[in-house]
């Protein structure tokens, strides 16, 4: 019994972690290329969630078909954010960039509040919605979460291969390592920065499109995911793409800590463990992990910039 509960928690954590690593991917790429922390990252995710929701509501199509739409909207949003906003912030001090993306966060959140209202909205129908599958004999997993995890891994792998194997991906890496040297190769820093924002924006809105299959959306949903993404990027190492993947899995498992706690209490039979309402502060463990990582290993598991 205890082992089944433990397995359930770990599988759920890994599946959620796969989606989380795509959430964090854009944050780490933007940081890697231009040393900017995008506080509005979670709001991009929120926009991806609304895109999935509205596209499926108005067209009647499955929410999964909204993913390409979410990718295009996210990429465009990233592109415009860079050219019309972030590029101008670069002329100012570091503080201007921090406060600038923070302002972008507030703006997008309140714009969503104005357009969509503050109530939770969720998807009611879809190929995957309401179904579940049994894996490893006894582990029940909702189809939405399994499907989201599989697609998330594909999206992550695709982005990783783009950065590692293509010429333009190498140019992106070169700009991340040394933008001055890259310019001497004829690589435009502005274009690479814009590309980072396009990938970052498209990646996180796709993650939103996946997430909305099993997670209700409201204008404030971004905050939680910004915090989770920050934890993942800090753990994996700022700017590290492989780091974001493995750290995503680890953070996914940490979010299932209440399940692991239950497994331990079943295994030991200690009564006091049942009485702790672990589920009501499940994210506390993630933030505690973030705090400890910054304290113990500020460079994360994979160091800064690969």
């Amino acid at each position: 019994m205890a082992s089944e509960v433990l397995l359930q928690a770990i599988v759920a954590g890994l599946l959620f972690g796969m989606v989380l690593s795509v959430v964090a991917l854009g944050l780490t790429i933007i940081f890697g290329v231009m040393d900017i922390v995008n506080f509005a990252h979670g709001e991009f995710l929120m926009i991806g969630m609304y895109t999935g929701l509205l596209v499926s509501q108005y067209t009647g199509a499955d929410p999964l078909f909204a993913l390409p739409v979410a990718a295009v909207i996210g990429g465009l949003l990233g592109y415009l954010c860079y050219w019309l906003f972030v590029r101008l912030l670069l002329r100012g001090p570091m503080l201007a960039q921090l406060l600038g993306t923070f302002g972008l966060m507030l703006f997008l959140r309140n714009l969503a509040l104005l357009l969509f209202g503050s109530e939770d909205r969720s998807i009611q129908k879809g190929i995957l919605v309401g179904k579940s599958v049994v894996i490893f004999g006894s582990c029940v997993v909702p189809s939405t979460k399994l499907g989201a995890a599989v697609l998330a891994v594909l999206a992550f792998l695709g982005t990783y291969l783009f950065i590692e194997k293509t010429k333009i991906g190498k140019a992106l890496q070169a700009t991340a390592i040394n933008p001055h040297a890259a310019r001497f190769m004829g690589i435009s820093t502005d274009r690479m920065n814009a590309l980072a924002w396009v990938i970052g924006g498209a990646g996180v809105t796709v993650a939103g499109g996946l997430l909305v299959n099993f997670w209700a959306v409201n204008p404030y949903v971004g905050l939680l995911f910004t915090m989770l993404a920050f934890t993942i990027v800090a753990l994996g190492g700022f700017g590290s793409v492989p780091g974001a993947f493995f750290a995503g899995l680890i953070v996914g498992i940490i979010t299932e800590f209440p399940g692991i706690w239950d497994a331990i209490s079943l295994w030991t039979g200690w009564n006091w463990m049942y009485k702790v309402p672990m589920i009501s502060f499940k994210y506390t463990w993630v933030y505690l992990a973030y705090f400890l990582i910054m304290l113990i290993t500020p460079k994360g598991l994979f160091g800064w910039k690969r």
């Binding site: 040297a181 310019r183 004829g186 435009s188």
Partner: protein, 237 residues
């Protein structure tokens, strides 16, 4: 001879401090021109100014009689001016091959890229031996070879070398400057910035001498080698 690069009365300032004042130089096709001077004489600043990596406060810069001052660095690279920086500026975490391929970033023709790669490995066989090694793990001499090789990957119409011998042992300096001489024979126009005055002048056709940001002497290499200023100030004769 066709004029490639010309600067006219160029001035560069760091804040209010002028580091290059009224410098006019010229490189013709097929020529190797050397800019000489001690540390802090403004040689590197001049090159960075030409490349658009340093703001030029006064004067003009022409490439094939067209004004290029104010263009972005990427645009200047596209014209065929290739700069091999003093601090090498390699992409340390990337491999030797990846660094070289980035040098060919603007070239679309795969055949040409292969030919260039072959040429670079012919010049520097040690780079071929270390093809998959991270650039940051190379020795100082190998890093300089890689920096020059990376510059050659884009078929430069003018190769600007910023103190290629800096920090190398005398033997390596000889080897490297020998390669520069070979590139000159292959017909690649070169603008060579050096502190090793004697060696540089043996390679170059023409030389300019900078002192504290000002041009103090210029002339064909043979004349400069015989001049009193060079003999007393740089060669210690």
């Amino acid at each position: 001879m066709e004029e490639l690069l010309r600067t006219s009365e160029v001035e560069i300032r760091y804040g209010s401090l002028p580091v290059v004042q009224g410098v006019s130089i010229r490189v013709n096709s097929g020529q190797c021109v050397s800019v000489l001077g001690s540390n802090g004489s403004g040689k590197s600043s001049l090159l960075r100014g030409i490349m658009g990596a340093q703001r030029v406060s006064k004067g003009e810069i022409f490439w094939k009689k067209r004004e290029i001052q104010g263009l972005r660095t990427e645009a200047i690279v596209k014209l065929g001016l290739v700069y091999v920086p003093e601090q090498k500026m390699l992409f340390g975490p990337l491999s030797v091959l990846e660094n070289l391929m980035l040098g060919a970033y603007l070239i679309k023709d795969q055949e040409l890229i292969r030919a260039n790669l072959k040429h670079v490995f012919e010049l520097f066989p040690r780079l071929e031996e270390r093809i998959y090694q991270r650039a940051s793990t190379l020795s100082g001499g190998e890093q300089q070879m890689l920096a020059i090789g990376r510059g050659l990957m884009s078929n430069p119409k003018l190769l600007m070398l910023d103190e290629p011998s800096l920090g190398l042992s005398p033997l390596l300096v000889k080897e490297l400057l020998g390669t520069v001489a070979r590139l000159k024979q292959e017909g690649i126009p070169i603008l060579l910035v050096e502190q090793n005055v004697k060696e540089a002048l043996h390679i170059a056709d023409y030389g300019y001498v900078l002192q504290a940001g000002r041009l103090v002497l210029e002339g064909p290499s043979s004349e400069l080698l015989a001049s009193d200023l060079i003999r007393s100030a740089y060669l210690g004769l």
